[in-house]
């Protein structure tokens, strides 16, 4: 890898790490701290990274371990969402903001193993095999966590079906490729 390659790849992966950290911790500052903790560990372990290996999967495994050991150290805590996400707004904008909060707060209520599995697959589009490696679990375990996590999320948000339906239409125009 050339110097530019590594820097570019890292830039991209750190964006992904930040999203995964946010999904795991639920807070912006906690997420940034976890990203830094991960980078620090990666610096310390850089010698063990195989040239040409899967940099993204390597970084995500480090983050996952950092998160798990952090949780053990601090104990589980209730996730609070930052206020600005639910700041008052009007019309469609408000609807979307509420919906955003629902998606994040529902995710935060999942048990950690399910939250991790859903985040890697849904947010970062890891292949099932890669995600299983990152979390260091057998493929079958990953699949059952994914299925249970998704179903739990669905149960949490299903009480407002109309709002979801409206948002599909609103988002599809812009978000679908």
């Amino acid at each position: 890898m050339t110097e530019q390659d590594v820097s570019d790849q890292l830039l991209r992966h750190v964006g992904g790490l930040r999203r995964y950290a946010l999904a795991l911790t639920g807070g912006q500052q906690e997420a940034e701290d976890l990203v830094q903790d991960t980078l620090l560990r990666a610096i310390a372990a850089a010698g063990s990274f195989r040239r040409g290996g899967n940099l993204r999967a390597w970084l995500f495994s480090i983050m996952h371990n950092a998160f798990i050991s952090g949780v053990r150290r601090r104990g589980p805590r209730l996730v609070e969402l930052d206020d600005e996400i639910v700041a008052p707004a009007s019309g469609q904008a408000q609807l979307i903001r509420l919906e955003l909060r629902d998606a994040m707060s529902a995710l935060a209520r999942l048990p950690e193993p399910q939250r991790a599995a859903v985040s890697l697959i849904a947010l970062e589009e890891f292949s099932y095999e890669e995600a299983a490696r990152v979390l260091d679990v057998p493929l079958g375990t990953l699949m059952s966590r994914l299925a249970r996590g998704r179903e739990a999320l669905r149960q949490m948000t299903r009480h407002e079906p109309r709002r979801s339906l409206r948002l599909v239409e609103a988002s599809k125009a812009g978000a679908k490729r």
Binding site: M1, E3, V6, S7, L10, L11, V14, G15, R18, R19, L22, Q28, A31, E32, Q36, D37, L39, L40, R41, A42, I43, A44, A45, A46, G47, S48, F49, R51, A66, S69, G70, R73, D82, I85, E99, L100, R101, D102, A103, M104, L107, V118, S119, I121, A122, L123, E125, Y128, M143, L146, A147, E151, L153, R154, T157, R158, S164, V168, S171, A175
Partner: protein
């Protein structure tokens, strides 16, 4: 035609576009016979979109200076794959002084000895943060009591910030490192020529005992010992005897076979 039986894993893979080639038709055929499952899968797909938008809207912009600095350091490390190699060797390196020089002990130490995580991390921290006199510290020496309180809280043990003024070393500052299993307090001291010394403290025992054990790796000397509730690792580019002297100043016993 008979419709294959489709399991939950394949339904999930259908949602994620991760079905093996040629299985989509089978899944679609199966869904034709199980319309009750269709809304559920559609909601899973919708859920994905919502999660992505939600996280993207909440994510910080990525301009945190510390993060960027760490990112650059990591890029640098990954481009120099040889760089970390000495640490891997250090994990099995001999304790020349402590193990003695008989060939039996030499090989025994070489094969069996693993450095405590604290020592490996201290050496790495010294390389990353300690060796460069230009690099700023997070906690400055001015806030000594604050620093002690901060470390004590995170390490879960009463931490005192040792003074090494008596032997001409000035405290520059410190920072808290994540550590492999538990947090580590890193303190950086400097002599009059601005040569730096790293002292790391951890609440995890290293199993070294009260006498300092010495390791030398590529120009760096590391010494470590357990002092009651707290274990210590010292790293500097300095002769063994000097390091032992500093360790004694910090309360360590001298190694038995030093001279």
């Amino acid at each position: 035609m008979t419709v294959d039986d489709i399991g939950e894993d394949e339904l999930q893979a259908f949602v994620d576009g991760q079905l093996p080639r040629g299985r989509s038709t089978a899944v679609l055929a199966w869904l034709g016979g199980h319309p009750e499952d269709v809304p559920r899968l559609a909601q899973y797909a919708l859920q994905k979109e919502e999660l992505r938008r939600s996280v993207a809207a909440t994510s910080l912009p990525g301009d945190d200076p510390t993060t960027l600095q760490l990112q650059r350091t990591l890029a640098d490390r990954l481009q120099r794959p040889k760089h970390g190699a000495w640490l891997r060797r250090a994990a099995t390196v001999v304790l020349l002084l402590a193990a003695g020089w008989t060939s039996h002990a030499f090989y025994g130490a070489f094969l069996e000895h693993r450095l405590p995580a604290l020592v490996v991390e201290a050496a790495q921290a010294h390389e990353v943060f300690g060796a460069d006199s230009q690099r700023p510290v997070e906690l400055t020496a001015a806030s000594r009591t604050e620093m002690a309180a901060w470390f004590s809280r995170h390490l879960g043990e009463e931490i005192e910030i040792p003074s090494l003024r008596a032997i001409g070393l000035r405290l520059v500052g410190g920072r808290l490192l994540p550590g492999e299993d538990s947090p580590i307090a890193q303190l950086i001291y400097e002599d009059s020529a601005q040569r730096r010394l790293t002292l790391c403290l951890s609440a995890e025992p290293t199993d070294a005992g009260l006498a300092v054990e010495l390791v030398e790796v590529e120009g760096l000397t590391a010494g470590y010992w357990d002092g009651g509730e707290v274990s210590y690792a010292l790293v500097a580019q300095t002769p063994d005897l000097q390091l032992v002297a500093i360790a004694s100043e910090l309360g360590a016993d001298q190694p038995e076979d030093l001279l």
